[in-house]
Subunit: 272 residues, 2 copies
Protein backbone atom coordinates (compact mmCIF):
# COMPACT_ATOMS: atom_id res chain seq x y z
CA UNK A 1 0.00 0.00 0.00
CA UNK A 2 1.18 3.47 -0.93
CA UNK A 3 -0.06 6.24 1.37
CA UNK A 4 0.19 10.00 1.65
CA UNK A 5 -0.94 11.88 4.74
CA UNK A 6 -1.34 15.59 4.27
CA UNK A 7 0.76 15.21 1.15
CA UNK A 8 3.72 13.39 2.70
CA UNK A 9 4.54 9.67 2.53
CA UNK A 10 3.36 8.21 5.82
CA UNK A 11 1.14 5.33 6.85
CA UNK A 12 0.20 6.21 10.44
CA UNK A 13 -2.04 8.80 12.05
CA UNK A 14 -2.28 10.18 15.57
CA UNK A 15 -4.37 8.13 18.01
CA UNK A 16 -5.92 11.51 18.80
CA UNK A 17 -7.34 11.89 15.29
CA UNK A 18 -11.10 12.26 15.34
CA UNK A 19 -11.33 9.86 12.41
CA UNK A 20 -10.32 7.11 14.83
CA UNK A 21 -11.95 8.44 18.00
CA UNK A 22 -15.40 9.11 16.54
CA UNK A 23 -15.37 8.12 12.88
CA UNK A 24 -15.50 11.87 12.35
CA UNK A 25 -14.71 12.07 8.66
CA UNK A 26 -15.69 11.08 5.14
CA UNK A 27 -14.14 9.03 2.36
CA UNK A 28 -14.35 8.10 -1.31
CA UNK A 29 -13.10 5.06 -3.19
CA UNK A 30 -11.84 5.70 -6.72
CA UNK A 31 -10.53 3.59 -9.55
CA UNK A 32 -7.12 4.08 -11.16
CA UNK A 33 -7.21 2.68 -14.68
CA UNK A 34 -4.61 3.07 -17.41
CA UNK A 35 -2.80 5.53 -15.18
CA UNK A 36 -5.86 7.77 -14.89
CA UNK A 37 -7.97 8.50 -11.80
CA UNK A 38 -11.50 7.95 -13.03
CA UNK A 39 -14.32 10.37 -12.28
CA UNK A 40 -12.13 12.51 -10.05
CA UNK A 41 -14.20 15.68 -10.35
CA UNK A 42 -17.43 13.89 -9.52
CA UNK A 43 -15.82 12.23 -6.52
CA UNK A 44 -14.51 15.58 -5.35
CA UNK A 45 -17.96 17.11 -5.66
CA UNK A 46 -19.42 14.34 -3.47
CA UNK A 47 -16.54 14.69 -1.01
CA UNK A 48 -17.19 18.42 -0.81
CA UNK A 49 -20.91 17.88 -0.30
CA UNK A 50 -20.34 15.26 2.40
CA UNK A 51 -17.83 17.51 4.18
CA UNK A 52 -20.38 20.31 4.11
CA UNK A 53 -23.00 18.05 5.66
CA UNK A 54 -20.61 17.34 8.53
CA UNK A 55 -19.54 21.02 8.69
CA UNK A 56 -16.03 19.96 7.74
CA UNK A 57 -13.84 22.21 5.59
CA UNK A 58 -13.07 20.22 2.45
CA UNK A 59 -9.50 20.66 1.19
CA UNK A 60 -9.30 22.46 -2.18
CA UNK A 61 -9.77 20.28 -5.25
CA UNK A 62 -6.44 21.37 -6.70
CA UNK A 63 -4.55 20.34 -3.56
CA UNK A 64 -6.14 16.90 -3.44
CA UNK A 65 -5.64 16.47 -7.17
CA UNK A 66 -1.94 17.27 -6.92
CA UNK A 67 -1.57 14.81 -4.06
CA UNK A 68 -3.47 12.17 -6.04
CA UNK A 69 -1.11 12.64 -8.98
CA UNK A 70 1.84 12.14 -6.63
CA UNK A 71 0.20 9.08 -5.10
CA UNK A 72 -0.39 7.28 -8.37
CA UNK A 73 2.76 8.39 -10.20
CA UNK A 74 4.09 5.40 -12.13
CA UNK A 75 1.10 3.17 -11.37
CA UNK A 76 -1.33 2.04 -14.02
CA UNK A 77 -4.15 0.57 -12.01
CA UNK A 78 -5.39 0.21 -8.46
CA UNK A 79 -7.95 1.37 -5.93
CA UNK A 80 -7.56 4.79 -4.37
CA UNK A 81 -9.10 5.70 -1.06
CA UNK A 82 -9.38 9.34 -0.03
CA UNK A 83 -10.21 9.97 3.63
CA UNK A 84 -10.79 13.41 5.13
CA UNK A 85 -11.07 13.56 8.92
CA UNK A 86 -11.75 16.48 11.25
CA UNK A 87 -8.16 16.20 12.47
CA UNK A 88 -6.94 16.16 16.04
CA UNK A 89 -9.40 16.18 18.89
CA UNK A 90 -9.43 19.13 21.27
CA UNK A 91 -11.85 18.04 23.98
CA UNK A 92 -14.47 15.33 23.71
CA UNK A 93 -17.09 15.29 21.00
CA UNK A 94 -17.17 19.06 20.48
CA UNK A 95 -15.54 19.92 17.14
CA UNK A 96 -13.01 22.75 17.32
CA UNK A 97 -13.93 25.95 15.53
CA UNK A 98 -11.06 25.82 13.08
CA UNK A 99 -10.20 22.17 12.66
CA UNK A 100 -7.14 21.28 10.60
CA UNK A 101 -8.41 18.33 8.64
CA UNK A 102 -6.32 15.22 8.01
CA UNK A 103 -6.00 14.09 4.38
CA UNK A 104 -5.26 10.40 3.88
CA UNK A 105 -4.75 9.10 0.34
CA UNK A 106 -3.90 5.48 -0.26
CA UNK A 107 -3.41 3.28 -3.30
CA UNK A 108 -3.90 -0.49 -3.15
CA UNK A 109 -3.95 -3.29 -5.69
CA UNK A 110 -6.99 -3.74 -7.85
CA UNK A 111 -9.01 -6.74 -6.62
CA UNK A 112 -9.86 -9.31 -9.24
CA UNK A 113 -13.44 -10.49 -9.52
CA UNK A 114 -14.77 -13.55 -11.33
CA UNK A 115 -15.74 -12.69 -14.93
CA UNK A 116 -19.10 -14.32 -14.26
CA UNK A 117 -19.93 -11.47 -11.87
CA UNK A 118 -20.12 -9.24 -14.94
CA UNK A 119 -21.67 -11.73 -17.33
CA UNK A 120 -24.04 -14.11 -15.56
CA UNK A 121 -24.43 -11.79 -12.57
CA UNK A 122 -23.99 -12.25 -8.83
CA UNK A 123 -25.78 -13.97 -5.99
CA UNK A 124 -26.97 -11.66 -3.27
CA UNK A 125 -27.67 -12.34 0.41
CA UNK A 126 -30.48 -10.45 2.13
CA UNK A 127 -28.85 -9.03 5.28
CA UNK A 128 -30.55 -9.53 8.60
CA UNK A 129 -29.24 -6.29 10.01
CA UNK A 130 -31.46 -3.37 9.07
CA UNK A 131 -30.07 0.10 8.44
CA UNK A 132 -31.04 2.63 11.06
CA UNK A 133 -32.71 5.84 9.95
CA UNK A 134 -30.59 8.97 10.36
CA UNK A 135 -31.60 11.72 7.93
CA UNK A 136 -28.72 13.95 9.08
CA UNK A 137 -26.16 11.43 7.83
CA UNK A 138 -28.10 9.74 5.03
CA UNK A 139 -26.30 9.65 1.69
CA UNK A 140 -22.98 10.66 3.27
CA UNK A 141 -20.00 8.33 2.81
CA UNK A 142 -18.77 8.85 6.36
CA UNK A 143 -16.47 6.75 8.55
CA UNK A 144 -19.25 5.34 10.79
CA UNK A 145 -19.56 2.03 8.97
CA UNK A 146 -20.28 -0.54 11.67
CA UNK A 147 -23.59 -1.45 10.05
CA UNK A 148 -21.69 -2.40 6.88
CA UNK A 149 -19.13 -4.36 8.92
CA UNK A 150 -21.83 -6.34 10.73
CA UNK A 151 -23.67 -6.91 7.46
CA UNK A 152 -20.49 -8.17 5.75
CA UNK A 153 -19.96 -10.70 8.52
CA UNK A 154 -23.33 -12.33 7.83
CA UNK A 155 -22.15 -14.67 5.08
CA UNK A 156 -18.97 -16.54 4.21
CA UNK A 157 -20.15 -18.45 1.13
CA UNK A 158 -17.79 -17.29 -1.66
CA UNK A 159 -20.63 -17.81 -4.15
CA UNK A 160 -22.35 -14.77 -2.60
CA UNK A 161 -20.82 -11.55 -3.87
CA UNK A 162 -22.88 -8.92 -2.10
CA UNK A 163 -25.39 -8.30 0.67
CA UNK A 164 -28.66 -6.44 0.30
CA UNK A 165 -29.43 -3.86 2.98
CA UNK A 166 -32.98 -2.97 3.92
CA UNK A 167 -34.31 -0.48 6.44
CA UNK A 168 -36.58 -1.39 9.34
CA UNK A 169 -39.66 -0.98 7.13
CA UNK A 170 -38.53 -3.53 4.51
CA UNK A 171 -37.47 -0.83 2.07
CA UNK A 172 -34.52 -1.81 -0.11
CA UNK A 173 -31.70 0.71 0.40
CA UNK A 174 -28.44 -0.49 -1.14
CA UNK A 175 -25.82 -3.19 -1.31
CA UNK A 176 -23.28 -3.40 1.53
CA UNK A 177 -20.70 -1.75 -0.76
CA UNK A 178 -22.79 -0.75 -3.77
CA UNK A 179 -25.89 1.08 -4.91
CA UNK A 180 -28.77 -0.83 -6.43
CA UNK A 181 -31.03 -0.26 -9.44
CA UNK A 182 -33.95 -2.22 -10.77
CA UNK A 183 -35.42 -2.26 -14.26
CA UNK A 184 -39.18 -2.58 -14.61
CA UNK A 185 -41.20 -2.08 -17.80
CA UNK A 186 -38.44 -0.04 -19.43
CA UNK A 187 -37.95 2.25 -16.43
CA UNK A 188 -35.08 2.44 -13.96
CA UNK A 189 -35.81 2.63 -10.25
CA UNK A 190 -33.34 3.23 -7.44
CA UNK A 191 -33.99 3.64 -3.71
CA UNK A 192 -34.52 6.98 -2.05
CA UNK A 193 -31.50 7.59 0.24
CA UNK A 194 -32.89 10.39 2.39
CA UNK A 195 -33.06 8.34 5.61
CA UNK A 196 -30.06 6.00 5.26
CA UNK A 197 -27.60 4.63 2.72
CA UNK A 198 -24.63 6.01 0.82
CA UNK A 199 -25.04 8.00 -2.36
CA UNK A 200 -22.32 6.80 -4.69
CA UNK A 201 -20.81 8.47 -7.73
CA UNK A 202 -21.81 5.66 -10.11
CA UNK A 203 -25.43 5.95 -8.95
CA UNK A 204 -25.29 9.66 -9.71
CA UNK A 205 -23.71 9.05 -13.14
CA UNK A 206 -26.39 6.54 -13.96
CA UNK A 207 -29.23 8.86 -12.97
CA UNK A 208 -27.75 11.50 -15.26
CA UNK A 209 -27.22 8.98 -18.04
CA UNK A 210 -30.88 7.99 -17.86
CA UNK A 211 -31.96 11.61 -18.13
CA UNK A 212 -29.72 12.11 -21.17
CA UNK A 213 -31.04 8.95 -22.79
CA UNK A 214 -34.67 9.85 -22.14
CA UNK A 215 -35.01 6.82 -19.88
CA UNK A 216 -37.27 7.39 -16.91
CA UNK A 217 -35.36 6.87 -13.64
CA UNK A 218 -37.43 7.04 -10.48
CA UNK A 219 -35.87 7.63 -7.08
CA UNK A 220 -38.36 6.21 -4.63
CA UNK A 221 -38.99 3.86 -1.72
CA UNK A 222 -38.80 0.31 -3.05
CA UNK A 223 -40.24 -2.46 -0.94
CA UNK A 224 -38.42 -5.81 -1.03
CA UNK A 225 -41.52 -7.40 -2.56
CA UNK A 226 -41.42 -4.81 -5.35
CA UNK A 227 -37.74 -5.53 -6.01
CA UNK A 228 -38.58 -9.18 -6.61
CA UNK A 229 -40.90 -8.11 -9.43
CA UNK A 230 -37.99 -6.50 -11.32
CA UNK A 231 -37.20 -7.40 -14.91
CA UNK A 232 -33.53 -6.84 -14.03
CA UNK A 233 -31.56 -5.76 -10.98
CA UNK A 234 -27.99 -4.53 -10.88
CA UNK A 235 -25.40 -3.17 -8.49
CA UNK A 236 -22.90 -0.38 -9.11
CA UNK A 237 -19.86 1.10 -7.44
CA UNK A 238 -16.67 2.79 -8.56
CA UNK A 239 -14.45 -0.26 -8.23
CA UNK A 240 -16.67 -3.04 -9.55
CA UNK A 241 -18.47 -0.97 -12.18
CA UNK A 242 -21.74 -2.87 -12.69
CA UNK A 243 -22.75 -6.35 -11.64
CA UNK A 244 -26.11 -7.73 -12.76
CA UNK A 245 -27.97 -9.61 -10.02
CA UNK A 246 -28.45 -13.26 -10.87
CA UNK A 247 -30.11 -14.40 -7.65
CA UNK A 248 -31.34 -12.95 -4.39
CA UNK A 249 -31.68 -15.79 -1.90
CA UNK A 250 -34.34 -18.16 -3.18
CA UNK A 251 -36.75 -15.39 -3.97
CA UNK A 252 -35.43 -13.81 -7.15
CA UNK A 253 -33.64 -15.16 -10.16
CA UNK A 254 -32.79 -13.56 -13.50
CA UNK A 255 -30.61 -14.86 -16.34
CA UNK A 256 -31.07 -12.14 -18.89
CA UNK A 257 -29.74 -8.63 -18.36
CA UNK A 258 -30.05 -6.63 -21.59
CA UNK A 259 -30.41 -3.21 -19.95
CA UNK A 260 -27.66 -3.89 -17.42
CA UNK A 261 -25.28 -4.87 -20.23
CA UNK A 262 -25.81 -1.59 -22.07
CA UNK A 263 -25.18 0.41 -18.90
CA UNK A 264 -22.24 -1.79 -17.90
CA UNK A 265 -20.41 -0.95 -21.09
CA UNK A 266 -21.19 2.72 -20.73
CA UNK A 267 -20.08 2.91 -17.09
CA UNK A 268 -16.81 1.14 -17.82
CA UNK A 269 -15.98 3.64 -20.52
CA UNK A 270 -13.65 5.93 -18.65
CA UNK A 271 -14.31 8.77 -21.02
CA UNK A 272 -17.91 9.22 -19.95
CA UNK B 1 -1.02 12.77 26.56
CA UNK B 2 0.53 9.47 27.54
CA UNK B 3 -0.32 6.57 25.23
CA UNK B 4 0.37 2.86 24.96
CA UNK B 5 -0.47 0.87 21.84
CA UNK B 6 -0.46 -2.88 22.31
CA UNK B 7 1.51 -2.25 25.46
CA UNK B 8 4.27 -0.11 23.98
CA UNK B 9 4.65 3.68 24.18
CA UNK B 10 3.37 5.00 20.84
CA UNK B 11 0.88 7.60 19.75
CA UNK B 12 0.11 6.63 16.16
CA UNK B 13 -1.79 3.80 14.50
CA UNK B 14 -1.79 2.41 10.98
CA UNK B 15 -4.05 4.21 8.49
CA UNK B 16 -5.19 0.69 7.67
CA UNK B 17 -6.61 0.14 11.17
CA UNK B 18 -10.31 -0.65 11.04
CA UNK B 19 -10.87 1.70 13.94
CA UNK B 20 -10.14 4.55 11.55
CA UNK B 21 -11.53 3.04 8.35
CA UNK B 22 -14.92 1.98 9.73
CA UNK B 23 -15.08 2.98 13.39
CA UNK B 24 -14.80 -0.77 13.92
CA UNK B 25 -14.07 -0.88 17.63
CA UNK B 26 -15.23 -0.02 21.13
CA UNK B 27 -13.99 2.19 23.94
CA UNK B 28 -14.37 3.08 27.60
CA UNK B 29 -13.52 6.24 29.51
CA UNK B 30 -12.27 5.76 33.06
CA UNK B 31 -11.26 7.99 35.92
CA UNK B 32 -7.86 7.89 37.61
CA UNK B 33 -8.18 9.26 41.14
CA UNK B 34 -5.61 9.18 43.91
CA UNK B 35 -3.48 6.93 41.73
CA UNK B 36 -6.26 4.36 41.37
CA UNK B 37 -8.21 3.39 38.22
CA UNK B 38 -11.81 3.54 39.38
CA UNK B 39 -14.31 0.80 38.59
CA UNK B 40 -11.85 -1.07 36.40
CA UNK B 41 -13.54 -4.44 36.66
CA UNK B 42 -16.94 -3.03 35.75
CA UNK B 43 -15.46 -1.20 32.78
CA UNK B 44 -13.77 -4.37 31.65
CA UNK B 45 -17.02 -6.29 31.88
CA UNK B 46 -18.73 -3.70 29.66
CA UNK B 47 -15.78 -3.72 27.26
CA UNK B 48 -16.01 -7.49 27.05
CA UNK B 49 -19.76 -7.38 26.46
CA UNK B 50 -19.42 -4.70 23.78
CA UNK B 51 -16.63 -6.65 22.05
CA UNK B 52 -18.84 -9.73 22.08
CA UNK B 53 -21.68 -7.79 20.46
CA UNK B 54 -19.33 -6.78 17.64
CA UNK B 55 -17.86 -10.32 17.50
CA UNK B 56 -14.49 -8.88 18.54
CA UNK B 57 -12.12 -10.86 20.73
CA UNK B 58 -11.65 -8.80 23.87
CA UNK B 59 -8.07 -8.84 25.21
CA UNK B 60 -7.74 -10.61 28.59
CA UNK B 61 -8.52 -8.50 31.65
CA UNK B 62 -5.11 -9.21 33.19
CA UNK B 63 -3.29 -7.96 30.08
CA UNK B 64 -5.26 -4.73 29.92
CA UNK B 65 -4.90 -4.24 33.65
CA UNK B 66 -1.11 -4.62 33.48
CA UNK B 67 -0.96 -2.13 30.63
CA UNK B 68 -3.19 0.27 32.57
CA UNK B 69 -0.88 0.06 35.55
CA UNK B 70 2.06 0.89 33.27
CA UNK B 71 0.11 3.75 31.70
CA UNK B 72 -0.76 5.48 34.96
CA UNK B 73 2.48 4.73 36.86
CA UNK B 74 3.41 7.85 38.83
CA UNK B 75 0.18 9.71 37.98
CA UNK B 76 -2.41 10.57 40.59
CA UNK B 77 -5.33 11.71 38.52
CA UNK B 78 -6.53 11.93 34.94
CA UNK B 79 -8.87 10.50 32.36
CA UNK B 80 -8.07 7.15 30.81
CA UNK B 81 -9.42 6.06 27.46
CA UNK B 82 -9.26 2.42 26.43
CA UNK B 83 -9.93 1.71 22.75
CA UNK B 84 -10.09 -1.78 21.24
CA UNK B 85 -10.27 -1.97 17.45
CA UNK B 86 -10.57 -4.93 15.11
CA UNK B 87 -6.99 -4.23 13.97
CA UNK B 88 -5.73 -4.06 10.41
CA UNK B 89 -8.10 -4.35 7.51
CA UNK B 90 -7.76 -7.28 5.15
CA UNK B 91 -10.23 -6.48 2.39
CA UNK B 92 -13.13 -4.10 2.59
CA UNK B 93 -15.81 -4.34 5.26
CA UNK B 94 -15.45 -8.10 5.76
CA UNK B 95 -13.81 -8.78 9.14
CA UNK B 96 -10.98 -11.29 9.02
CA UNK B 97 -11.56 -14.58 10.81
CA UNK B 98 -8.77 -14.12 13.32
CA UNK B 99 -8.35 -10.39 13.74
CA UNK B 100 -5.45 -9.18 15.86
CA UNK B 101 -7.09 -6.39 17.80
CA UNK B 102 -5.39 -3.07 18.46
CA UNK B 103 -5.28 -1.90 22.11
CA UNK B 104 -4.98 1.84 22.61
CA UNK B 105 -4.67 3.19 26.16
CA UNK B 106 -4.27 6.89 26.77
CA UNK B 107 -4.10 9.12 29.83
CA UNK B 108 -5.01 12.80 29.68
CA UNK B 109 -5.43 15.58 32.21
CA UNK B 110 -8.55 15.67 34.31
CA UNK B 111 -10.87 18.41 33.03
CA UNK B 112 -12.06 20.89 35.64
CA UNK B 113 -15.76 21.64 35.84
CA UNK B 114 -17.47 24.52 37.62
CA UNK B 115 -18.42 23.55 41.20
CA UNK B 116 -21.93 24.81 40.44
CA UNK B 117 -22.38 21.87 38.03
CA UNK B 118 -22.38 19.64 41.10
CA UNK B 119 -24.26 21.93 43.44
CA UNK B 120 -26.85 24.03 41.62
CA UNK B 121 -26.89 21.68 38.64
CA UNK B 122 -26.42 22.19 34.91
CA UNK B 123 -28.34 23.71 32.03
CA UNK B 124 -29.21 21.28 29.27
CA UNK B 125 -29.88 21.87 25.59
CA UNK B 126 -32.43 19.68 23.79
CA UNK B 127 -30.60 18.46 20.69
CA UNK B 128 -32.27 18.78 17.33
CA UNK B 129 -30.57 15.70 15.94
CA UNK B 130 -32.46 12.55 16.85
CA UNK B 131 -30.69 9.26 17.51
CA UNK B 132 -31.31 6.64 14.87
CA UNK B 133 -32.63 3.26 15.94
CA UNK B 134 -30.16 0.39 15.58
CA UNK B 135 -30.91 -2.47 17.99
CA UNK B 136 -27.77 -4.35 16.92
CA UNK B 137 -25.53 -1.55 18.22
CA UNK B 138 -27.72 -0.11 20.97
CA UNK B 139 -25.99 0.19 24.35
CA UNK B 140 -22.56 -0.44 22.84
CA UNK B 141 -19.87 2.21 23.36
CA UNK B 142 -18.51 1.85 19.82
CA UNK B 143 -16.43 4.19 17.70
CA UNK B 144 -19.28 5.28 15.40
CA UNK B 145 -20.02 8.53 17.20
CA UNK B 146 -20.97 11.00 14.49
CA UNK B 147 -24.40 11.54 16.03
CA UNK B 148 -22.68 12.70 19.24
CA UNK B 149 -20.32 14.92 17.26
CA UNK B 150 -23.18 16.59 15.38
CA UNK B 151 -25.16 16.95 18.61
CA UNK B 152 -22.18 18.56 20.39
CA UNK B 153 -21.89 21.13 17.63
CA UNK B 154 -25.44 22.37 18.24
CA UNK B 155 -24.58 24.84 21.03
CA UNK B 156 -21.66 27.06 21.95
CA UNK B 157 -23.11 28.80 25.02
CA UNK B 158 -20.71 27.91 27.87
CA UNK B 159 -23.63 28.10 30.29
CA UNK B 160 -24.95 24.89 28.71
CA UNK B 161 -23.09 21.85 30.01
CA UNK B 162 -24.79 19.02 28.19
CA UNK B 163 -27.17 18.14 25.37
CA UNK B 164 -30.20 15.89 25.67
CA UNK B 165 -30.62 13.26 22.98
CA UNK B 166 -34.04 11.97 21.96
CA UNK B 167 -35.01 9.36 19.43
CA UNK B 168 -37.32 9.99 16.48
CA UNK B 169 -40.37 9.25 18.62
CA UNK B 170 -39.60 11.90 21.27
CA UNK B 171 -38.29 9.33 23.72
CA UNK B 172 -35.51 10.64 25.95
CA UNK B 173 -32.41 8.44 25.52
CA UNK B 174 -29.34 10.01 27.13
CA UNK B 175 -27.04 13.01 27.34
CA UNK B 176 -24.49 13.49 24.57
CA UNK B 177 -21.79 12.15 26.92
CA UNK B 178 -23.82 10.92 29.88
CA UNK B 179 -26.72 8.74 30.96
CA UNK B 180 -29.82 10.31 32.42
CA UNK B 181 -32.07 9.48 35.38
CA UNK B 182 -35.22 11.10 36.64
CA UNK B 183 -36.77 10.96 40.10
CA UNK B 184 -40.55 10.85 40.38
CA UNK B 185 -42.56 10.14 43.51
CA UNK B 186 -39.62 8.42 45.20
CA UNK B 187 -38.81 6.19 42.23
CA UNK B 188 -35.89 6.33 39.81
CA UNK B 189 -36.51 6.06 36.08
CA UNK B 190 -33.92 5.76 33.32
CA UNK B 191 -34.44 5.28 29.58
CA UNK B 192 -34.55 1.91 27.91
CA UNK B 193 -31.45 1.65 25.68
CA UNK B 194 -32.46 -1.29 23.52
CA UNK B 195 -32.79 0.72 20.29
CA UNK B 196 -30.09 3.38 20.70
CA UNK B 197 -27.84 5.04 23.27
CA UNK B 198 -24.78 3.99 25.25
CA UNK B 199 -25.03 1.97 28.43
CA UNK B 200 -22.52 3.47 30.83
CA UNK B 201 -20.90 1.98 33.89
CA UNK B 202 -22.26 4.65 36.25
CA UNK B 203 -25.78 3.95 35.01
CA UNK B 204 -25.24 0.28 35.78
CA UNK B 205 -23.83 1.07 39.25
CA UNK B 206 -26.78 3.24 40.01
CA UNK B 207 -29.32 0.63 38.96
CA UNK B 208 -27.61 -1.84 41.28
CA UNK B 209 -27.43 0.73 44.07
CA UNK B 210 -31.16 1.29 43.81
CA UNK B 211 -31.83 -2.43 44.07
CA UNK B 212 -29.61 -2.69 47.14
CA UNK B 213 -31.33 0.30 48.74
CA UNK B 214 -34.80 -0.99 48.03
CA UNK B 215 -35.43 2.00 45.74
CA UNK B 216 -37.56 1.16 42.73
CA UNK B 217 -35.64 1.89 39.48
CA UNK B 218 -37.63 1.51 36.28
CA UNK B 219 -35.92 1.10 32.91
CA UNK B 220 -38.53 2.23 30.40
CA UNK B 221 -39.35 4.50 27.49
CA UNK B 222 -39.58 8.05 28.81
CA UNK B 223 -41.29 10.64 26.67
CA UNK B 224 -39.86 14.15 26.80
CA UNK B 225 -43.16 15.39 28.26
CA UNK B 226 -42.82 12.82 31.05
CA UNK B 227 -39.27 13.96 31.79
CA UNK B 228 -40.51 17.50 32.37
CA UNK B 229 -42.76 16.16 35.14
CA UNK B 230 -39.74 14.90 37.10
CA UNK B 231 -39.11 15.87 40.70
CA UNK B 232 -35.40 15.74 39.90
CA UNK B 233 -33.25 14.89 36.90
CA UNK B 234 -29.57 14.07 36.89
CA UNK B 235 -26.78 13.01 34.54
CA UNK B 236 -24.00 10.52 35.22
CA UNK B 237 -20.79 9.40 33.61
CA UNK B 238 -17.44 8.08 34.81
CA UNK B 239 -15.59 11.37 34.50
CA UNK B 240 -18.13 13.88 35.79
CA UNK B 241 -19.73 11.63 38.39
CA UNK B 242 -23.21 13.12 38.82
CA UNK B 243 -24.57 16.48 37.76
CA UNK B 244 -28.11 17.44 38.78
CA UNK B 245 -30.11 19.12 36.02
CA UNK B 246 -31.02 22.69 36.83
CA UNK B 247 -32.73 23.64 33.59
CA UNK B 248 -33.72 22.06 30.30
CA UNK B 249 -34.33 24.83 27.80
CA UNK B 250 -37.26 26.91 29.03
CA UNK B 251 -39.36 23.87 29.77
CA UNK B 252 -37.93 22.45 32.97
CA UNK B 253 -36.37 24.00 36.02
CA UNK B 254 -35.42 22.50 39.39
CA UNK B 255 -33.45 24.04 42.26
CA UNK B 256 -33.66 21.27 44.80
CA UNK B 257 -31.93 17.92 44.31
CA UNK B 258 -32.08 15.90 47.53
CA UNK B 259 -32.01 12.46 45.90
CA UNK B 260 -29.30 13.46 43.42
CA UNK B 261 -27.13 14.70 46.27
CA UNK B 262 -27.31 11.40 48.11
CA UNK B 263 -26.38 9.47 44.98
CA UNK B 264 -23.70 12.00 44.01
CA UNK B 265 -21.86 11.38 47.27
CA UNK B 266 -22.22 7.65 46.89
CA UNK B 267 -20.99 7.58 43.26
CA UNK B 268 -17.97 9.71 44.07
CA UNK B 269 -16.92 7.30 46.79
CA UNK B 270 -14.31 5.31 44.95
CA UNK B 271 -14.69 2.38 47.32
CA UNK B 272 -18.20 1.54 46.18
Amino acid sequence: MNTLINGAPCDTISVNDRGLLYGDGVFRTLLLKNGKVLQWHRHYQRLFKDCTTLKLTCPPESLLHTELENLVAGSQQGVIKVIITRGLSQRGYVPSHNPVTTRILSLTDLPSYPPSNYDLGVNVHICQIRLGSQPRLAGVKHLNRLENVLASAEWSDPAIAEGLLLDELDNVIEGVRSNIFMVKDGELLTPDLSRCGVSGVQRERLIEWAAQQGVNCKIKDIQLAELFEADEIFLVNSVIGLWPVHKIGEQYSCDNHPVAKVIQDWLLNENN
